[in-house]
């Protein structure tokens, strides 16, 4: 099997994040991840794909140590960031180390204004006002819509606006590695492209590493370098993005392509039960 740290050009990149065979249990009874292993190369965009409930969010939360607050715990395996175990760190230590997560479902601070939301992103940085203002402007450049709404309480902004706030807020922490959970959810197509464009440019220009969980396989595979496909808590397939895109099963079930190109949603007349890799 291929390895995520294998760059397309064949050189081997450094692994920043390594997950070895982790198991996650919620409420000490619900076993959700059943041995997931991942490698995230430095400076790459790695995609985590899979259907609803596959365990993408759980994997990301296990990395950023947010499981604890949901009564979940990692019971087996290890998570290494730059070779160090990070399971015992607090989430804010992790942010200080440069790993930040953009949570699924926005999670804005409702009562804070849009701008204040962004500023909380800079909380861990000891940066001066000038730096922070510069970054604020960078975020506003990426998302002009936010600039217009900067003074309104985040709770009153639309779903898409909140998503922009969440991403902008993460950028404000000047991270090295960003864990993005479903960034495209609820965004207009133009904006999806735009956000992935931003991801790409951050990755290429600033060297940010991305691990993104996505349902929108199409876009994800277009921008990612490497992909893992998760199904019911197990990694069922992985490979370079381009390879995955050519894989017939992926094509059929994740990209919605049939032999004749894209099928119409109107014409899927029967519920075809797909074959599962792990039945």
């Amino acid at each position: 099997m291929l390895d995520a740290t294998q760059t397309p050009s064949g050189t081997k990149a450094e692994t920043v994040l390594e997950i070895n065979n982790i198991e996650v249990i919620y409420n000490s009874v619900i076993l959700v991840l059943k041995g997931v292993s991942l490698r995230v190369p430095k400076g790459g965009i790695t995609a985590l794909l899979g259907g609803n409930g596959a365990g993408k969010t759980t994997t990301l939360k296990a990395i950023s140590n947010l499981l604890h607050s949901e009564r979940g715990e990692v019971t087996k395996g290890s998570i290494l960031y730059r070779g160090e175990t990070i399971q015992n760190l607090t989430p804010n230590d992790l942010v200080k180390k440069g790993v930040i997560q953009v949570m699924e479902g926005r999670h804005c601070f409702e009562h804070l204004t849009v701008e204040e939301n962004l500023l909380t992103g800079a909380y861990t940085r000891g940066a001066g006002k000038g730096d922070i203002d510069a970054d604020l402007n960078m975020v506003y450049d990426y998302f002009p819509r936010l600039k217009e709404r900067r003074r309104s309480q985040a709770g009153y902004t639309s779903g898409g606006e909140q998503q922009m706030v969440a991403i902008g807020r993460a950028l404000m922490s000047k991270p090295e590695t960003i864990l993005l959970d479903e960034p495209s959810m609820g965004l207009a197509p133009q904006l999806v492209e735009q956000i992935f464009g931003i991801v790409k440019s951050l990755n290429e220009n600033q060297g940010y590493t991305f691990l993104l969980a996505e349902q929108n396989t199409n876009v994800a595979l277009r921008f990612a370098h490497y992909g893992y496909i998760l199904e019911s808590g197990r990694v069922v397939m992985d490979g370079p993005a381009d390879d995955l895109r050519e894989n017939p099963d992926v094509k059929e079930f994740y990209l919605g392509m049939s032999d004749e190109g894209r099928k119409s949603f109107r014409n899927v007349r029967s519920y075809r039960r797909r074959k599962r890799w792990l039945a």
């Binding site: 926005r106 606006e161 197509p189």
Partner: protein
């Protein structure tokens, strides 16, 4: 624009669309300085699948909220089944047969899937408090009858296995499906769906599309739908309203909308095929 007479029209795939079910006339809605909706007029016809699209923050969800009576527009009128709708509380609107799902899933987290779906049938359950306290007899009978309806919907949406699971434990996609089930349980004449497919992968979207089409087909339910996936919108809907910054910038069949330059500029970015 379709030349839709008052009696309706026939769609490309041959379905018969009826007369106007709901009409929004010159709706304007402001929040303090924010103009969420500005003077929008459109109609929804019986049996139709009507999409509302537009960039983020365009006012789509707000429009659904106006329809379901949660937001009261400063200006404009809502006509439903040929009558002007007087000012109403949301629950009264629901009793008119309008059901919906929400963009940021609004399930009742403390209840099981079954109970959530059963709440959709509350408007059909009329036994008094006293009879419920006694339970045996009237209340039990009513419960069973409605349970049967709900079980059909559960089967239909293929969520049998999670019937007894508390919804808080469900993954996002399944929650959306449960929400749809809850809305369907109300057997609405108009179903409003706010981004029913956000956070789903293609396969799941296909399933969801199937459900939407079947609802529309089998029960003749009229559907208004907000969605950002253009594939879905273009494939499913009969007519599309396009909003931008609270204004209507386009209205017509998917093909017409797709070619509308204003829509391309504001929303689609590139022309979708």
């Amino acid at each position: 624009m379709l030349d839709a007479s008052d009696e309706g029209y026939i769609t490309a795939d041959g379905r018969k669309i009826g007369g106007v079910l709901m009409e929004m006339k010159n709706i304007s809605l402001r929040f303090g300085g924010v103009k969420a909706i500005t003077d929008i007029t459109f109609d929804i016809r019986e049996g139709e699948i009507r999409a509302i699209i537009g960039p983020n923050g365009a006012g789509k969800s707000s429009m659904l909220n106006v329809i379901s009576g949660f937001y009261v527009p400063q200006e404009g009128e809502v006509w439903y089944k040929g009558e002007k709708r007087p000012p109403m509380k949301p629950f009264q609107v629901a009793q008119l047969g309008i059901a919906r799902t929400f963009q940021n899933i609004a399930l009742f987290e403390g209840m099981s899937v079954l109970d959530n779906v059963m709440t959709g049938r509350l408007n059909y359950m009329k036994t008094g408090l006293l009879a419920q306290a006694i339970w045996k007899g009237k209340a039990e009978k009513e419960e069973t009858e409605n349970r049967e309806v709900v079980e059909k919907i559960i089967d239909f949406l293929e969520i049998q296995t999670i019937r007894k699971t508390p919804v808080s434990r469900l993954p996002y996609g399944l929650k959306k499906r449960v929400e749809l089930a809850r809305a369907l349980a109300a057997e609405p004449s108009l179903l409003l769906l706010d981004e029913p497919m956000a956070g789903m992968n293609v396969e799941e979207k296909e399933d969801m599309s199937r459900f939407i089409l079947d609802v529309n087909d089998e029960f003749g339910t009229t559907i208004a739908l907000i969605e950002h996936d253009m594939g879905v919108v273009m494939d499913l809907s009969d007519r599309v309203v396009v909003m931008d910054y609270g204004k209507k910038i386009g209205d017509g069949t998917p093909d017409e909308v797709r070619k509308n330059q204003a829509v391309i500029d504001a929303y689609l970015g590139v022309a979708h095929d």
